[in-house]
Amino acid sequence: MTEQTYRSVGRSVQRLDVVAKVTGSAIFAEDQQPQGRLLHGAVLRSPHPHARIKGIDTRRAAALPGVRAIVTGQDLPQVHYGQYIKDEEYLSWDKVRFVGDRIAAVAADTVELAREAVGLIEVEYEVLPTVTDARMALGAGAPVVHEGLGDYRVVHAAAPAGGNCASHNALSRGDPEAGFAQAARVFEQVYTTEMVHHAYLEPHACLAEYDPDGNYVVHSTTQGIFPLRNMIAEVLGVSQNRVRVHATEVGGGFGGKIQLQDEAAAAALARMAGRPVRIVMTREEDFLCGNPRSAFHMTVKTGVSADGRLVARTMDVVLDSGAYGLGGVLMAWSIPQFAEGPYAIPHLRITVDCAYTNKPPCSSFRAPGGPQTNFAIECEMDRIAEAMGWDAVDFRRKNLMPEAHTTLAGVSLKSVVAQETLDAVLALSGYDDKAAQPAPWRGRGLAMGNWNVGGMPSGVAIKLNDDGSATLLTGVVDLTGVHTALAQVVAEVLALPPERVTVKALDTESAPHSTSSVGSQALKSTGTASIQAAEHVREQLFELAVEDLDVTPAHMELADDTVRVSDEPGRAVAVTALLARAMARRGPIVGQGGTGAFSRMPSFCADVADVAVDPETGQVRVLRFCAAQDTGLAINPVAVDGQVQGGVAQGIGMALSEGMLYRDGRVANAGFLDYKLPSSLDLPPLETVLVEKPAVEGPFGAKGIGEPPVVPPPAAIANAIYHAAGVRMTSLPITPEKVRRALREREQAGGE
């Protein structure tokens, strides 16, 4: 690919919203002011992990002075909803299936009154036996979480298999059993991970209004306005054009703000009370009712040849979906497509069973299924290399996938940059500078990662203002700086300085359909659509300029607010003149662009972690962390780098301290005190390198990078711990207690 010099893309620019954020004037959902006198909402959530609802009595709650409306499942159409499998009751009328399952909501003059009223709602429960372990849920005799599983409508991805199996999927190539038989050696190991919470610092919050014309307006901290609008409309039983969703600033999402939460309840209350209703989750509620990263149990079997090749692999995943099939069923479908790792394995079978349990339903969290499967894959690579006497780097290199490798789903992966990414992290970390003996109880670990990013349908429009500045109209939510990148993209095509491009975040009523800010593809999807729209604008300007310049559009370019003949700057016509001409003849210039779904493109990452282990306490300190990320062309390098650092930080948290703990199905660490996020003292400086090889697809060759960085850190740290302390950790999080226990077991087994 030839080196291109760009004016706008590829330069670090400040985020469009950053001044608002550093002055405290950015409007988050709880900051959003209503039209009209605000009511505060609170939600009744199930105290039981599994129970049938026999009756709900709201009379005492309704009698509390200051209570303005109460909504239960009786007030809404009793339809099952869900993005992939329709297994959810919005306000439970039949059963509750996890502690936190939504039953009713109250709007009152103050939040204290609303919460007090919630406490006065009387629900008669028939408590049912609970199942909280995914493998037990799949076994015989387990309490059934969804008796109606066979009748649920499947929208996409889910393949229910009866009992508590919300989805089963298996993809394979070749003949793994034959591969194992021929292998020089076969390895097998079980790896497990816990549920991990997004722990965005802004809890779920929304404000709903209802106007007398019968339209709902919902302001929400959401990553995707269109799916949310659709779900609200479905649950309320109204036509989609009656619901307008507006995304406020999102105080962290990471995939945890893509589901319907309390918005429909707030909307129903707003209609019933005739006043706007705000519902903000407490931090505890968010931990109980948010949708965490699923817990995995993975059995990995690997056969290798004597000359260092991965010959055969089976991976059997049991994933804990929690009470509903939100992200769980999606992962059952997607995992076989990426859990080969960054490698090419001739004989491969990946099976996934997604189990219902009486725990909070899991949803997507930054690379759903990625860090979990990568933990197993990369720890095995290290373990196998050592057992076979192979160099850990060379073993990986030998097996990295080539360009156009085909996934188990038959997708050909283009722009494979695996080798270069590995090289980059080795260089950054000085991996081979192992001149000195490593210090006792210190060790270095390597892990590679991969993540496949698609693209989703998106439309945008671009208006040119009378002075030639541009406004991009889009419905994509700016989670990670995508609006800034879009401004750069449009500015590049229209040869404008980025400050003369406004990106207008619209709502569901005014925006063309847009993808959500999920799955690392907001930029790819809306960026591609934006380039199309900008080219459409340019095309229209060029058409209008033909009579001035007397050449065909193929010989024209945009520069300095003119359309001019390429290579002849003297022959130019002002854009403003062309705009005026357009207005007179045919109306304003508007560009449109749209994309459908894209097939997946791979992105690669590689990490090197240095840790110190305290052998007496088992505490692990991360001394240094290096991350290389394959980014394609980085439209806004500083923002891309920020995504890498942030993903690494979350990966380190998942590795060492984060995990949801349950007692009898109830989240036991539903707060920042005991759900341990890394603080500024828990992380080292995060060293990064962006590997920029423009991709064959994507705006200016940009790749999606929101998710990949979170994938390899847990394995890198586990491998580093092995090299520091001589113990292989096979379950996340790697707490001091687990390390200490592993060291003790090794001592007792007569180890060193």
Partner: protein, 297 residues
Amino acid sequence: MHEIAYHAPETLAEAMRLLAESGGAAQPLAGGTDLVLQLERGADPARVAVDLKRIPELQGTRSHGGGWRFGALVRMAELERDAALRAACPALVAAAGFVGGPPIRNRATLAGNICNASPAADTSPALLALGATVDCAGPGGTRTLPLGDFWQGPGQTVLTPGELVTGISLPAPPGRSGNAFARLTRSAMDIALINAAAQVTLDERGHFSDARLALGACGPTVFLVAGLTEALAGHPWNEETRAAAMGMARDAARPIDDVRASADYRRDMAGVLAARCLAQAIGHATGEPAAGKRDRP
């Protein structure tokens, strides 16, 4: 959830009157990091909040004869800034530095920490090891008691209705003594899953003449490991005494399983922290770094 009344008296007598007349419905409010937290959680810890922060005699630290008296309003951040205190009582200053994070330490008071009576409170083992006493004032008059007699159980003190802590005193550390604090968990914003503090006094040969080791978060209250002085007196710090001390700490610990750690791990760590505290306390006494690399902070 109930309304509360709020008062901000300017004298100790007025504060005591407000506390006494409410019949137990009033709570003193100093840093607020426990009381306001409970109010926020929808609990009803009190109907009346008596804000002590305007009462001059409860403020400030006085040092006298090599010892200290901390007024009830002295905050963790003030202890952290006290260079003389840090030099003489690093156990207390280190412990104070672990409480929450900077914004918490700007409000949380030493007195409030002991009154909350959490067995995991960081300053408690340090104060106990250093021989702290507690000054109380109530309707029945004033009294001073050893800190070890102050706690009755988790969240329970011996304070009677209307009585409040007016100050905490530390005696002058004995000659040739040292002290240290250690705790386990992450670096910030955390409740200890186990903590420990030691004060040791050495004789002319550098052998133990006295050893006090306090353990926290492994029993219903913070406590001193009994019999430690007897076991160590006359001996130097070596592999034997180290192992003995670790064993005594493990045996004395009565930890529970909870979300933060298992009882087994806590018990094990009681021994590890005991060794580290004692070694560092000796280092403080002698002015040399802690003997043995593994016991360095």
